[in-house]
């Protein structure tokens, strides 16, 4: 049974011989009964071991346990995703609501203080520090008293009269207050450095009512303007427009 080929039978059956040798051994096995019987025995053993070797099977539970331990992410249910989205949405809305409410409170506080300043001026026996109807007198008076400058509007044919001006304070920062007469109503125009006024106050208010006063506020070229008085909303608006126009010139 032993010949030159016997030692190569395992390699032959394991498919590890070069193809030329494989063909040669094929031919040899057909003509050598001893090797043919040996090959048969070895093939039978290989098949038997192949079958007997597949002996153990893992349980589904163990398979799942290991799969979970190496999974990239735990598998989440659609309900979990919806809940996460809902919580995120509620949080965003809450933050927006809080932010809007804070801004509203800041605007109310500033509007209240502006109304107080206006009322204090009306109640004062000396409402103005510079008494003049001439804007070319009033404007230079503020030079050196406040840390900014501004333009005063031309009032011709507007029905408005400039009564004078004074230095005032809001949130510890100095500003200008100008008092105008519209028919029998006195209206104050306050001008402050916008950076010194509450940072929450970023929007233009349009005409609004504060403690029964009409108030309009806006920011222009780094200055925050307030026009307030018991005159009609239209009068307040027209004075505001004159200031906006003067600032642009």
């Amino acid at each position: 049974m032993s010949d030159a080929w016997t030692d190569k039978l395992d390699l032959y059956l394991d498919g590890e011989l070069a193809s030329a040798e494989m063909r040669e051994l094929d031919v040899h096995v057909r003509s050598c009964p001893s090797c043919a019987a040996d090959v048969l025995n070895r093939v039978q053993l290989k098949r038997a071991v192949h079958s007997a070797g597949k002996r153990y099977r893992p349980s589904a539970e163990f398979h799942e346990r290991v799969r979970r331990s190496v999974a990239s992410e735990p598998r989440r249910s659609p309900m979990w995703i919806w809940l996460t989205a809902a919580v995120a949405l509620v949080l965003v809305l809450a933050v927006l609501a809080i932010s809007a409410r804070q801004r509203q409170l800041a605007e109310l506080r500033i509007a209240g203080e502006i109304a107080d300043l206006h009322v204090a001026t009306l109640a004062s026996t000396n409402p103005v520090d510079v008494i003049s109807t001439d804007r070319h007198t009033v404007k230079p008076w503020f030079a050196g008293k406040i840390p900014f400058t501004f333009n005063l509007p031309e009032l011709e044919n507007s029905g408005l009269t400039l009564l004078g001006g004074r230095v005032t304070y809001l949130d510890q920062s100095p500003g200008a207050e100008l008092i105008y007469q519209i028919r029998k109503h006195q209206v104050s125009v306050f001008i402050f450095n916008a950076r010194q006024v509450d940072q929450a106050l970023t929007s233009d208010s349009g005409a609004r009512k504060t403690l029964s006063f009409n108030l309009e506020s806006w920011e222009q070229d780094g200055l925050r303007y307030f026009v307030i008085g018991d005159a009609g909303a239209e009068d307040i608006r027209s004075l505001a427009e004159l200031f906006k126009k003067a600032a642009r010139s």
Partner: protein, 174 residues
């Protein structure tokens, strides 16, 4: 491919299809179900941790088997099982003249074969399993066991001879 960045997701895709085979192999090595489960679990944990060091394009299956085997070898059971290995001094088992293989064709004898495989030294058992059950090439076996090709061939031949010898003894007792 070589430059491809391997992700955790691709580890799961590559490794989980090998799960049943590795579990079977682990049981043959440890001869104990609970130990085999620990071995498989540890193998997957180690492989996931070391996945960034796996070279894409090389044999992933051989890599996983190598991790499992190395983990086994460093376990208490593995150390005990492998202490008997001494390739050079292993005596050549005589080649028998009888042919017990045909008896194994009968399904009822599968248990007898499994017992004979269990009784083999672990280094014979594992190389037989890699070759016959996992149908690995000699090159893959060489990578898995970290031994030269020549040792694969000689160890495999000795393992087969030892199995045939053991079978003959068992059949003689039946």
């Amino acid at each position: 491919m070589a430059e491809a960045r391997l992700t955790v997701a691709s580890f799961e895709e590559l490794a989980m299809p090998l799960f049943d085979q590795l579990y079977n192999f682990a049981n043959w090595l440890t001869q104990d179900r609970s130990e085999a489960e620990d071995l498989v679990q540890e193998t997957y944990a180690k492989a996931l941790k070391g996945f960034s060091s796996f070279q894409p394009g090389t044999n992933f299956r051989a890599w996983m088997y190598r991790i499992l085997r190395n983990t086994f070898l460093t376990s208490r059971t593995g150390l005990k099982a492998m202490v008997a290995i001494d390739e050079e001094d292993a005596s050549e088992l005589p080649s028998g003249t009888e042919t017990p293989e045909s008896v194994l064709l009968q399904r009822s004898q599968e248990e007898l074969l499994q017992n004979a495989m269990e009784a083999l030294p672990v280094h014979f058992r594992e190389i037989l399993l890699l070759c016959e059950v996992e149908e690995m090439s000699y090159l893959q076996i060489s990578e898995t066991l970290s031994i030269p090709m020549g040792t694969v061939m000689s160890r495999l031949a000795r393992a087969r001879r030892a199995l045939r010898d053991s079978l003959k003894q068992r059949l003689a007792m039946v």
